[in-house]
Amino acid sequence: MAVSLSGTLEGGLADSPEAAGARGRALRTFLRKPSVALSVAYLILIALMAIFAPVLSKITGNDPYSFNETALDAAAGGIPLGHFGGISAQHWFGVEPQKGRDIFIRIAFGARVSMLIAISAMLITTALGVSLGMIAGFFGGRVDQVISRIMDFLMAFPALIFMIAVLSAIPQGNRPLLLVVVLSVFRWPATARIIRGQTMSLANREFVEAARASGADRLKIVFAEVLPNLSGTVIVMATLAVPGFIATEAGLSFLGVGVTPPTPSWGQMIALAVPWYSTDPMFFAIPGMFLFLTVFSFTILGDNLQRWATGATA
């Protein structure tokens, strides 16, 4: 006779803080981490610089295009007057040798361009990557074969060389838009591959079978059951895509095929600084530092988001 015993043996209710509270607390601990806090602060600064670049231009009285010969030492081959590349009250980050354009305002407008390109490319690759990744992962079969072959093909391509070739062959036209398209074409497989893998494992989970057994059709299953479990990964992939794009755009501009002058871009500024690297090192150090710190901050953010996302849903 099987005795039914209520309560004596069963483990107590697992200690369960309110669901919302847990996520809120996790967010607070996430932000308290020094590296994350610094990165977020820096990125906010860069975003403000980018957004208010025109305002800053009015305040400082400098614009990214006009030459200021007065700040240059004509006798010494046009290197900026004063040390540290001509840093002064008027020119907070100094001026360019020979041309004398103000570096601070060019950094601000440069931030504007590269953030614009990086974020729009990220939006495209995330949308493309998530949808194609989910379709391939969830429906499998021939659809998966086709999408996977395309992804393999694109990933087997020496992207940088091909981008350079394409961009160099189209001299005119809206450069930023062209860059966004070219960057997105080669980057979406990276997101799609991860999303496809996760969708496949989620699709085999029993809670999807339970939904099917309860009469849910495919669309409901994809959006109501599978997608919520992918949100962590999507955020991480999107965050990590941005620094990738910023670095690649800067690389292309450095090689002269990205953002073409006169629109400033950090990569382009570094390229201009190459001939002066020994005589005026600040000229390449300043855009270089900004580029590095921006990519570094996004990468730290993405890395910590990844740990937080896997932690939250583990």
Partner: protein
């Protein structure tokens, strides 16, 4: 042998990918280059000179015909122009440079040694630094070393290589005068000079990959250390060394091989920038110069050779993967 059907399918996929690459590259250049003929004969050009060039290079043919001729050129060689002025170009022929008129393929092959020694040296560097750094971080998980190494690796990933190149040159060459400015000198003539010339380019190219590999090895090692068979190894009374280097490292290395296949595609891009900054006349610099002077055949040639190398690398990686992992190599009972 279960391997044969798998590999033959994989080889076929590679051939298809290569053909697709050739087609796409040719198509892009066909539609994008303004006017190759005008480009060849330079500014002082009369219309009929341009016409003659267009005739000789078959540029007025429809797209598919030109592509077919180009494809035939790669696999069987082709002749440009007709009769006495015909120029023979043996297979695999990618055409002649607009600028120098030399055979594109021979130029690329002549530049290969520089790129190979750059890439090979960098590979040795990043594998050593990456794998050992990753392992130490995994073993010393949570210590200041681990946190520091991981932060440095994040930095390594974020540092643009041309910026690192400039910083190194400024510090090591200009300021501290430890190294000469990299000037190419053949290994046979002066090995130490060769080594000094390549040291900075190796560091610049290897930096990002060393960081990526360190993070990957660390993650793999930590996963593997959590496996049950590690507990079995400890319960058998093995010393820490065999536990680490045999039972933990072996499973962690296999994913590294597959990452190499994916990373190889970006390696050539990295080499291009590194060679350009340091002025090393490798295939990368060749591509960069061709881009500056809009020399389409050379750009196309480098792209095809690079794509070919990437496809071969991925094929070799798949082969290595199936040999390395017994569960793939040996079918179950």
């Amino acid at each position: 042998m279960t391997l044969l059907p798998y590999l033959s399918k994989r080889f076929l996929a590679s051939v298809i990918t290569l053909l697709a690459v050739i087609f796409l590259t040719f198509a892009v250049f066909f539609w994008l280059t303004p006017d190759p003929a005008a480009n060849i004969c330079g500014q002082t050009c009369t219309p009929d000179q341009i016409h003659a060039i267009r005739e000789q290079l078959g540029l007025n043919q429809p797209f598919l015909k030109q592509f077919w001729a180009f494809l035939a050129g790669i696999f069987a060689g082709r002749a440009y122009g007709a009769g006495a002025t015909a120029v023979q170009c043996s297979a695999p022929c990618i055409g002649f440079s607009f600028q120098s008129g030399t055979n594109v393929l021979t130029t690329i092959i002549s530049r290969l040694p520089v790129t190979i020694s750059l890439a090979a040296g960098a590979a040795v560097l990043w594998l050593l630094v990456g794998i050992s750094g990753g392992m130490i971080s995994a073993v010393k998980k949570g210590t200041w070393w681990d946190r520091g190494a991981m932060m440095v690796s994040l930095g390594g990933i974020s540092l643009p290589n041309y910026f690192v190149a400039l910083v190194l040159q400024y510090l090591l060459v200009v300021k501290l005068k430890l190294l000469p400015f990299p000037t190419l000198v053949p290994f046979s003539e002066n090995p130490s000079g060769w080594f000094k010339a390549y040291l900075m380019p190796w560091i610049v190219l290897a930096l990002m990959y060393a960081a990526t590999y360190a993070r990957l090895i660390r993650a793999n090692m930590l996963d593997t250390m959590g496996e049950n068979f590690m507990r079995t190894a400890r319960a058998k009374g093995l010393a820490p060394a065999p536990i680490l280097f045999r039972h933990a490292l072996r499973p962690s290395l296999t994913p590294v091989v597959s990452l190499f296949g994916v990373e190889f595609a970006t390696l050539l891009g990295g080499a291009l920038i590194t060679e350009t900054v340091f002025g090393l006349s490798g295939v990368g610099k060749l591509a960069y110069d061709a881009i500056q002077s809009n020399d389409q055949p050379v750009i196309m040639g480098v792209t095809l050779v690079a794509a070919f190398a990437v496809i071969i690398a991925n094929l070799l990686v798949d082969l290595a993967y199936s040999v390395l992992d017994p569960r793939v190599r040996v079918a179950s009972r």
